[in-house]
């Protein structure tokens, strides 16, 4: 096989980049071209395959290292020295470990974390169950959310009788919630 870059020498290095396990991009290089392309010296040439791949294929090596959790943090770049006042974790550590330090971190680093969470989950807004010992307000908010979902479903299947009922229930609950928050 002949080198893709110079077209003269025999290619000794074959790089295959798998895209989604399905497509593959292949690149055949001779030793000289590979060295030139990589700007690396002979000895350290094979020392870090990941580096070779990254400089040739311009891929983000970090993405292939580490586990899933860390990848998400990698997508966001922070230059911030702020530390969580509760556990002392900063963004750098979070990026390294892929984990937040305590519950308070989510509040403390809201600006950095929320867009990230949104990119992972698609949206922000909990729809699941709430703890049984949480405040009454949280519980009624949960009921309200469920009712709204049910209303949307009722409208889609054109069950307007049920939809009207649900609408009234939602209104009533909203009024109650509004009142209690003003108090």
């Amino acid at each position: 096989m002949i080198c893709d870059s110079c077209g003269k020498n025999k290619a000794n290095i074959h790089l295959i980049k798998a895209i989604n396990n399905n497509d593959a991009e292949k690149m055949n290089l001779c030793n000289d071209c590979a060295k030139n392309l990589l700007f690396s010296s002979g000895e350290s040439f094979f020392s870090d395959l990941a580096e070779i791949l990254s400089s040739i294929l311009e891929i983000d090596v970090k993405f292939y290292k580490g586990d899933e959790n860390k990848k998400f943090f990698d997508s966001v770049d922070w230059i911030n020295d702020k530390k969580c006042h509760c556990c002392g974790t900063d963004l750098k550590t979070m990026k390294k470990t892929g984990k937040v330090g305590c519950a308070n971190c989510y509040d403390e680093f809201k600006d950095g974390l929320y867009p990230l969470i949104k990119s992972i989950h698609g949206k922000i807004g909990h729809m699941g169950k709430v703890p049984c010992n949480s405040s009454k307000r949280l519980k009624s908010e949960k009921i309200l959310r469920d009712l709204k979902v049910e209303l949307d479903e009722a409208v889609i299947i054109e069950n307007f009788e049920r939809a009207a009922q649900l609408r009234d229930m939602i209104k009533k609950l909203q009024k109650k919630l509004y009142k209690s928050s003003n108090r």
Binding site: D67, T97, G101, K123, M127
Partner: protein, 364 residues
């Protein structure tokens, strides 16, 4: 008690009509695992807390758990007091996640049922990535039942513990991936049909697009062995628990259908190839004296496929997922009950014997 009995009889009744298909399902979806993560509020998460703080959390949770009647038949193990083989066994049985064995201080696990038992098993991991991970593993496709099982436990714990919660983000977890319901469902699927008909890449792409993650049997970064895949659902925020459960159930039924289709096509179009592969595996299993775990999984996967398609007949009926469990290295080492440590080749020898005994019919 009466309630649960009623529930199980109801389940049985509703399943009567689907008996055959359920059997087929459990041949493809081998195990279902449902996991729920919870953290205590006012306690630092695992990655930042000191050993002392971890011990406090452990003691607090154990204290609460010991007061719960439903958890009275659970066995508690402190991770750093277990032997290496015991820890590996718990991981092999998926009763404990591998990360529990790094920095073991203050980590514990509550396990219901003997690990060798192949029925529904529930485990509660303490001080892993999150303070609490409640997990239920059940054979076959059992998403709904497993979910109900862990919710029962969570409700009991919730009464006495305050979990970290935020109205926007739901239950707070150490890793943002699990935020929201913190509910994770994963199944182990045996997909030799899709692999052999090389439809597997398309299949993985498709289920990745709908938010599923596919990894090998041994978890993250492991190779695919024995055509076994671990498929789990991502996105836990913005959906209710019930929706996640129903979605995963539907996805699994879809997987079963795809695999069935692939198998039938293979049988119709490539029967000789299939027979060749199956009988080669049969030959090796019959005569090999030493078998590694990985090789055994590959071979058994083919035999299982051969049996399902009616290719190979002189084989005893065996439960694939059960067999996979008992031929793991740690299981063999522990079941021998020898004081001295077994060498690797000795384990391979015992494994080959165990498999022969389980699958070969005796020749009179």
């Amino acid at each position: 008690m009466g309630k649960t009995n009623l529930f199980s009889t109801m389940c049985k009744n509703s399943d009567v009509g689907r008996k055959i298909s359920k059997d087929a399902r459990s041949k493809i979806i081998l195990t279902t695992r449902v996991q729920l993560a919870r953290n205590l509020s006012d306690h630092k998460f695992g990655s930042t807390s000191s050993s002392q703080e971890k011990n406090d959390v452990l003691n607090l949770i154990i204290g609460v758990a010991s007061g719960i009647r439903e958890l009275s038949d659970y066995k508690f193990y402190t991770v750093n007091k277990l032997t290496k083989v015991q820890r590996r066994l718990l991981i092999e049985k998926h009763l404990m996640s591998p990360e529990m064995t790094s920095r073991m201080q203050g980590k514990g696990v509550l396990v219901k049922s003997c690990p060798c038992n192949h029925r529904k098993s529930v485990s509660i991991m303490i001080n892993g990535e999150d303070h609490l991970r409640i997990q239920c593993a059940a054979p076959g496709l059992n998403v709904r039942e497993s979910y109900k099982e862990i919710m029962k436990i969570e409700k009991k714990l919730e009464k006495k513990l305050t979990f970290a919660f935020n109205s926007k983000l739901g239950y707070l977890t150490a890793c943002p991936v699990n935020l929201g319901t913190a509910l994770r469902i994963s199944v182990i699927a045996h997909l030799p049909g899709l692999v052999m008909s090389s439809k597997i890449t398309d299949f993985i792409n498709n289920i990745t697009n709908i938010g599923c993650r596919t990894v090998g049997y041994f978890g993250e970064n492991s190779e695919i062995v024995g055509n076994l895949f671990q498929i789990s659902r991502r996105a836990t925020l913005g959906r209710s628990e019930e929706d996640i459960v129903e979605e995963m159930n539907a996805i699994c039924l879809n997987i079963v259908e795809e695999e069935e289709k692939a198998r039938q096509t293979l049988k119709a179009n490539h029967l000789v190839d299939m027979e060749d592969s199956v009988y080669r595996s049969y030959g090796v299993l019959k005569y090999a004296k030493m078998l590694s775990y990985e090789e055994s999984l590959e071979l058994l996967s083919m035999i299982e496929l051969g049996m399902e398609l009616g290719i190979v007949k002189n084989v005893k009926k065996f439960n694939f997922s059960k067999l996979v469990n008992i031929i793991g290295n740690s299981h063999i080492m522990l079941s021998m009950k020898k004081d001295k440590k077994l060498r690797e080749d000795e384990v391979d020898f015992i494994r080959a014997n165990v498999i022969r005994e389980k699958i070969l019919k005796r020749i009179r």
